[in-house]
Amino acid sequence: MLAEAKVELELLYQFQQGSMEAFEALFRDHQRAVYGWIVRIVRDPAAAEELTIETFWRIYRAHARFDSARGFGAWSRRIATHAALDWLRRRPPENAMPADYFAELPSPQTADFCMADEMRRKTARAFARLSPKLRVAATLVVIEELTHKEVAEALGISVSAVKLRVFRALRLLRKDLEGQGIKP
Protein backbone atom coordinates (compact mmCIF):
# COMPACT_ATOMS: atom_id res chain seq x y z
CA MET A 1 0.00 0.00 0.00
CA LEU A 2 2.78 2.37 1.01
CA ALA A 3 4.82 1.32 -2.00
CA GLU A 4 1.82 2.03 -4.27
CA ALA A 5 1.41 5.49 -2.79
CA LYS A 6 5.10 6.12 -3.34
CA VAL A 7 4.84 5.07 -6.99
CA GLU A 8 1.79 7.34 -7.45
CA LEU A 9 3.62 10.28 -5.87
CA GLU A 10 6.64 9.67 -8.06
CA LEU A 11 4.37 9.52 -11.12
CA LEU A 12 2.76 12.83 -10.18
CA TYR A 13 6.16 14.40 -9.57
CA GLN A 14 7.40 13.19 -12.97
CA PHE A 15 4.26 14.60 -14.59
CA GLN A 16 4.82 17.93 -12.90
CA GLN A 17 8.36 17.94 -14.30
CA GLY A 18 6.91 17.48 -17.81
CA SER A 19 7.51 13.76 -18.38
CA MET A 20 5.49 12.48 -21.35
CA GLU A 21 5.59 8.91 -19.99
CA ALA A 22 4.03 10.08 -16.72
CA PHE A 23 1.40 12.04 -18.64
CA GLU A 24 0.54 8.97 -20.70
CA ALA A 25 0.21 6.84 -17.55
CA LEU A 26 -2.09 9.41 -15.96
CA PHE A 27 -4.09 9.73 -19.18
CA ARG A 28 -4.66 5.99 -19.32
CA ASP A 29 -5.58 5.82 -15.63
CA HIS A 30 -7.99 8.76 -15.68
CA GLN A 31 -9.46 9.05 -19.21
CA ARG A 32 -12.52 6.99 -18.36
CA ALA A 33 -13.30 8.97 -15.20
CA VAL A 34 -12.85 12.28 -17.02
CA TYR A 35 -15.06 11.12 -19.90
CA GLY A 36 -17.72 9.89 -17.44
CA TRP A 37 -17.72 13.26 -15.71
CA ILE A 38 -17.94 15.28 -18.91
CA VAL A 39 -20.72 13.19 -20.43
CA ARG A 40 -22.81 13.93 -17.33
CA ILE A 41 -22.46 17.63 -18.03
CA VAL A 42 -22.73 17.83 -21.82
CA ARG A 43 -24.95 14.70 -22.25
CA ASP A 44 -23.49 14.06 -25.68
CA PRO A 45 -21.12 11.06 -25.96
CA ALA A 46 -19.30 12.28 -29.10
CA ALA A 47 -18.71 15.75 -27.64
CA ALA A 48 -17.60 14.16 -24.36
CA GLU A 49 -14.83 12.28 -26.18
CA GLU A 50 -13.66 15.45 -27.86
CA LEU A 51 -13.75 17.31 -24.55
CA THR A 52 -11.82 14.54 -22.79
CA ILE A 53 -8.98 15.18 -25.23
CA GLU A 54 -9.34 18.95 -24.73
CA THR A 55 -9.24 18.47 -20.94
CA PHE A 56 -6.03 16.45 -21.09
CA TRP A 57 -4.57 18.99 -23.48
CA ARG A 58 -5.22 21.69 -20.87
CA ILE A 59 -3.82 19.39 -18.16
CA TYR A 60 -0.67 18.82 -20.22
CA ARG A 61 -0.16 22.54 -20.74
CA ALA A 62 -0.65 23.27 -17.03
CA HIS A 63 1.58 20.46 -15.73
CA ALA A 64 3.99 22.88 -14.04
CA ARG A 65 1.14 24.37 -11.97
CA PHE A 66 -0.06 20.99 -10.72
CA ASP A 67 -0.07 20.68 -6.94
CA SER A 68 0.34 16.99 -6.09
CA ALA A 69 -1.03 17.59 -2.57
CA ARG A 70 -4.50 18.21 -4.09
CA GLY A 71 -4.64 14.98 -6.06
CA PHE A 72 -4.86 14.46 -9.79
CA GLY A 73 -8.50 13.28 -9.82
CA ALA A 74 -9.95 16.45 -8.29
CA TRP A 75 -7.72 18.68 -10.42
CA SER A 76 -8.63 16.91 -13.66
CA ARG A 77 -12.32 17.05 -12.74
CA ARG A 78 -12.15 20.80 -12.27
CA ILE A 79 -10.40 21.30 -15.61
CA ALA A 80 -12.92 18.97 -17.27
CA THR A 81 -15.82 20.96 -15.80
CA HIS A 82 -14.45 24.19 -17.21
CA ALA A 83 -13.78 22.64 -20.61
CA ALA A 84 -17.39 21.37 -20.65
CA LEU A 85 -18.71 24.78 -19.58
CA ASP A 86 -16.74 26.49 -22.37
CA TRP A 87 -18.24 24.03 -24.85
CA LEU A 88 -21.78 24.68 -23.59
CA ARG A 89 -21.22 28.44 -23.86
CA ARG A 90 -20.16 28.10 -27.50
CA ARG A 91 -23.23 26.02 -28.31
CA PRO A 92 -26.45 27.85 -29.17
CA PRO A 93 -29.26 27.01 -26.69
CA GLU A 94 -31.43 25.40 -29.36
CA ASN A 95 -28.64 22.86 -29.91
CA ALA A 96 -27.98 22.32 -26.22
CA MET A 97 -29.64 18.90 -26.30
CA PRO A 98 -28.31 16.49 -28.90
CA ALA A 99 -30.94 15.62 -31.50
CA ASP A 100 -30.95 11.99 -30.38
CA TYR A 101 -30.96 12.84 -26.68
CA PHE A 102 -34.29 11.18 -26.02
CA ALA A 103 -33.31 8.14 -28.01
CA GLU A 104 -30.00 7.63 -26.27
CA LEU A 105 -29.66 8.77 -22.70
CA PRO A 106 -32.91 8.12 -20.85
CA SER A 107 -33.05 4.41 -21.49
CA PRO A 108 -36.58 3.13 -22.18
CA GLN A 109 -36.27 0.66 -19.28
CA THR A 110 -35.86 3.45 -16.76
CA ALA A 111 -37.86 6.30 -18.29
CA ASP A 112 -40.96 7.39 -16.42
CA PHE A 113 -43.78 6.55 -18.77
CA CYS A 114 -46.32 8.31 -16.60
CA MET A 115 -44.98 11.64 -17.73
CA ALA A 116 -46.24 12.68 -21.12
CA ASP A 117 -43.49 12.69 -23.70
CA GLU A 118 -44.41 16.19 -24.78
CA MET A 119 -44.12 17.48 -21.23
CA ARG A 120 -40.66 15.91 -20.90
CA ARG A 121 -39.56 17.50 -24.14
CA LYS A 122 -40.84 20.92 -23.08
CA THR A 123 -39.11 20.64 -19.72
CA ALA A 124 -35.84 19.54 -21.34
CA ARG A 125 -36.03 22.36 -23.89
CA ALA A 126 -36.77 24.93 -21.21
CA PHE A 127 -33.85 23.56 -19.23
CA ALA A 128 -31.61 23.90 -22.29
CA ARG A 129 -32.49 27.59 -22.48
CA LEU A 130 -30.93 28.27 -19.08
CA SER A 131 -27.45 29.74 -18.95
CA PRO A 132 -24.70 27.10 -18.99
CA LYS A 133 -23.49 27.87 -15.48
CA LEU A 134 -26.98 27.41 -14.00
CA ARG A 135 -27.59 24.35 -16.14
CA VAL A 136 -24.36 22.64 -15.07
CA ALA A 137 -25.06 23.16 -11.36
CA ALA A 138 -28.64 21.90 -11.69
CA THR A 139 -27.62 18.95 -13.88
CA LEU A 140 -25.03 17.72 -11.42
CA VAL A 141 -27.06 18.34 -8.25
CA VAL A 142 -30.63 17.57 -9.32
CA ILE A 143 -30.30 15.11 -12.19
CA GLU A 144 -27.05 13.35 -11.32
CA GLU A 145 -27.74 13.68 -7.57
CA LEU A 146 -24.19 14.57 -6.64
CA THR A 147 -23.51 16.35 -3.37
CA HIS A 148 -23.26 20.13 -3.27
CA LYS A 149 -19.70 19.74 -2.00
CA GLU A 150 -18.62 17.60 -4.97
CA VAL A 151 -20.15 20.07 -7.40
CA ALA A 152 -18.63 23.04 -5.58
CA GLU A 153 -15.17 21.49 -5.81
CA ALA A 154 -15.58 20.74 -9.51
CA LEU A 155 -16.78 24.27 -10.28
CA GLY A 156 -14.31 25.98 -7.96
CA ILE A 157 -17.07 27.83 -6.08
CA SER A 158 -18.55 27.64 -2.58
CA VAL A 159 -21.30 25.22 -1.52
CA SER A 160 -23.69 28.13 -0.95
CA ALA A 161 -22.97 29.43 -4.47
CA VAL A 162 -23.90 25.99 -5.86
CA LYS A 163 -27.15 26.00 -3.86
CA LEU A 164 -27.94 29.47 -5.18
CA ARG A 165 -27.29 28.43 -8.79
CA VAL A 166 -29.56 25.40 -8.42
CA PHE A 167 -32.28 27.50 -6.84
CA ARG A 168 -32.06 30.12 -9.60
CA ALA A 169 -32.07 27.42 -12.30
CA LEU A 170 -35.23 25.85 -10.89
CA ARG A 171 -36.93 29.21 -10.45
CA LEU A 172 -36.21 30.21 -14.07
CA LEU A 173 -37.29 26.79 -15.30
CA ARG A 174 -40.56 27.16 -13.44
CA LYS A 175 -41.14 30.61 -14.94
CA ASP A 176 -40.42 29.34 -18.45
CA LEU A 177 -42.83 26.40 -18.06
CA GLU A 178 -45.52 28.61 -16.55
CA GLY A 179 -45.10 30.91 -19.55
CA GLN A 180 -45.94 27.90 -21.75
CA GLY A 181 -49.01 27.19 -19.66
CA ILE A 182 -47.47 24.28 -17.78
CA LYS A 183 -48.09 24.24 -14.05
CA PRO A 184 -45.35 22.12 -12.44
Binding site: Y35, G36, I53, L105, I143, L170
Partner: protein, 74 residues
Protein backbone atom coordinates in the same frame (compact mmCIF):
# COMPACT_ATOMS: atom_id res chain seq x y z
CA UNK B 1 -40.10 30.32 -5.20
CA UNK B 2 -39.39 28.90 -1.76
CA UNK B 3 -37.80 25.61 -0.70
CA UNK B 4 -41.23 23.98 -0.51
CA UNK B 5 -41.85 24.84 -4.18
CA UNK B 6 -38.37 23.71 -5.17
CA UNK B 7 -39.06 20.02 -4.59
CA UNK B 8 -41.76 19.56 -7.27
CA UNK B 9 -39.47 21.30 -9.76
CA UNK B 10 -36.65 18.92 -8.88
CA UNK B 11 -38.96 15.94 -9.36
CA UNK B 12 -40.17 17.28 -12.70
CA UNK B 13 -36.62 17.79 -13.93
CA UNK B 14 -35.56 14.31 -12.79
CA UNK B 15 -38.44 12.77 -14.68
CA UNK B 16 -37.70 14.78 -17.81
CA UNK B 17 -33.97 14.14 -17.84
CA UNK B 18 -32.68 10.90 -16.45
CA UNK B 19 -29.16 10.60 -15.07
CA UNK B 20 -26.41 9.21 -17.25
CA UNK B 21 -25.94 5.56 -16.28
CA UNK B 22 -22.79 4.78 -14.31
CA UNK B 23 -21.74 2.23 -16.90
CA UNK B 24 -22.09 4.75 -19.72
CA UNK B 25 -20.78 3.27 -22.91
CA UNK B 26 -17.05 3.64 -23.23
CA UNK B 27 -15.78 2.41 -26.53
CA UNK B 28 -12.12 3.13 -26.97
CA UNK B 29 -8.79 4.30 -25.76
CA UNK B 30 -8.37 7.99 -26.62
CA UNK B 31 -4.58 8.07 -26.29
CA UNK B 32 -3.89 7.87 -30.07
CA UNK B 33 -6.10 10.96 -30.56
CA UNK B 34 -4.39 12.69 -27.68
CA UNK B 35 -1.02 12.11 -29.33
CA UNK B 36 -2.36 13.53 -32.60
CA UNK B 37 -3.56 16.63 -30.78
CA UNK B 38 -0.21 17.05 -29.04
CA UNK B 39 1.53 16.85 -32.41
CA UNK B 40 -0.92 19.27 -34.03
CA UNK B 41 -0.76 21.93 -31.39
CA UNK B 42 2.78 22.93 -30.58
CA UNK B 43 3.08 25.01 -27.42
CA UNK B 44 1.94 28.48 -28.38
CA UNK B 45 3.03 31.64 -26.64
CA UNK B 46 -0.09 33.71 -25.89
CA UNK B 47 -0.33 37.02 -27.75
CA UNK B 48 -0.25 39.05 -24.52
CA UNK B 49 3.12 37.50 -23.63
CA UNK B 50 4.49 38.76 -26.96
CA UNK B 51 2.91 42.17 -26.32
CA UNK B 52 4.45 42.31 -22.84
CA UNK B 53 7.88 41.34 -24.17
CA UNK B 54 7.57 44.01 -26.90
CA UNK B 55 6.59 46.62 -24.32
CA UNK B 56 9.54 45.79 -22.09
CA UNK B 57 11.97 45.92 -25.02
CA UNK B 58 10.47 49.25 -26.13
CA UNK B 59 10.83 50.63 -22.62
CA UNK B 60 14.46 49.52 -22.52
CA UNK B 61 15.18 51.12 -25.90
CA UNK B 62 13.49 54.43 -25.07
CA UNK B 63 14.65 54.66 -21.44
CA UNK B 64 17.96 52.81 -21.01
CA UNK B 65 18.07 54.04 -17.42
CA UNK B 66 15.17 51.70 -16.66
CA UNK B 67 17.27 48.59 -17.45
CA UNK B 68 18.79 48.20 -13.95
CA UNK B 69 15.35 48.64 -12.41
CA UNK B 70 13.84 45.99 -14.73
CA UNK B 71 16.71 43.62 -13.98
CA UNK B 72 16.16 44.21 -10.28
CA UNK B 73 12.44 43.41 -10.66
CA UNK B 74 13.23 40.13 -12.43
Amino acid sequence: MNEHEQEPMERLLRRAMLPVPNDVEWGRDLWPEMLRKLDEKPMQVPWFDWALAGGVLGLMALFPASIPMLLYCM
